[in-house]
């Protein structure tokens, strides 16, 4: 069982508090799925540092993840001070991972 907590923030301009809550929750769910994907499928990491005259001139890191997910459940939702937190869980079986 994998459990994650996704976080989301509402846009600064919304029509109503209800819309702010709905949008923050959507964003939190996306963040939760992202965390599940990171744990299940892994993360690609690419870093680049440039050195000029023995000094660090620039540094950048890029990470990306992409996955299909099925069967994740939302177990708890909280909304406080504009931040929505969604607790999500997904059950994994070893045989399913092998396939």
């Amino acid at each position: 069982m994998i459990t994650v907590i996704g976080q989301g923030v509402a846009p600064s301009i919304t029509a109503s508090p209800a819309q702010a809550y709905a949008l923050a929750k959507r964003s939190a769910i996306v963040d939760g799925y992202r965390q599940i994907a990171e744990k299940v499928a892994g993360v690609h990491v690419e870093g680049q540092d440039s050195i000029k005259n023995m000094m660090l001139a620039s540094s950048s890191t890029r990470t990306w993840v992409e996955a299909f997910i099925r069967g994740a459940n939302i177990t708890n939702t909280t909304f406080k001070d504009g931040l929505c937190e969604v607790e999500m869980e997904i059950a994994l079986s070893y045989s399913r991972l092998l396939h």
Binding site: L23, V30, Y33, T61, E66, G71, N73
Partner: protein, 134 residues
């Protein structure tokens, strides 16, 4: 002249059409995409299109929603979008994340996609039943 085997798809389509009309059911393709940048949603799209070909007869699960009289599927889905998305997301979700980190700035873009699937939608007076097909 049609052969016996060649008539089967035609008969099947006709029977499906008659059954759909008798039950008051329609078939729709529904897909969804949400893009969030730095934990804030920036773009959201729910696409609904009536199916032009009969969907698979194998059904997976259903969602029942309360409907106001003469409410269309589009307005119902707008009103009950959260419930529908939680139902649809249980079956298949595609997630894509890109993050870039620089010494003075960082950016995160998440894209969640619920691939288009065929749903059988049954309209009653007060209820709508949305069934996912395989």
């Amino acid at each position: 002249m049609r052969s016996r085997n060649g008539n089967r798809p035609f008969v099947f389509t006709t029977l499906t059409l008659i059954a759909s009309l008798a039950l008051g059911a329609d078939e729709y393709y529904i897909g969804y995409r949400l893009v969030a940048k730095n934990a804030q949603p920036i773009n959201e799209e729910l696409a609904v299109s009536k199916a032009m070909r009969p969907c698979s007869a194998t059904t997976l699960s259903s969602l029942t929603l309360i409907r106001t009289p003469n409410e269309s599927l589009d307005s119902l889905l707008q009103r009950e979008q959260t419930a529908f998305l939680e139902f649809a997301a249980l079956h298949n979700v595609h997630i894509k994340n890109n993050e870039t980190l620089h010494p003075l700035s960082s950016q995160s873009i998440n894209t969640l996609t619920i691939p288009s699937h065929c749903y059988v939608v049954e309209f009653n007076n007060e209820l709508v039943t949305i069934t996912l097909t395989q």
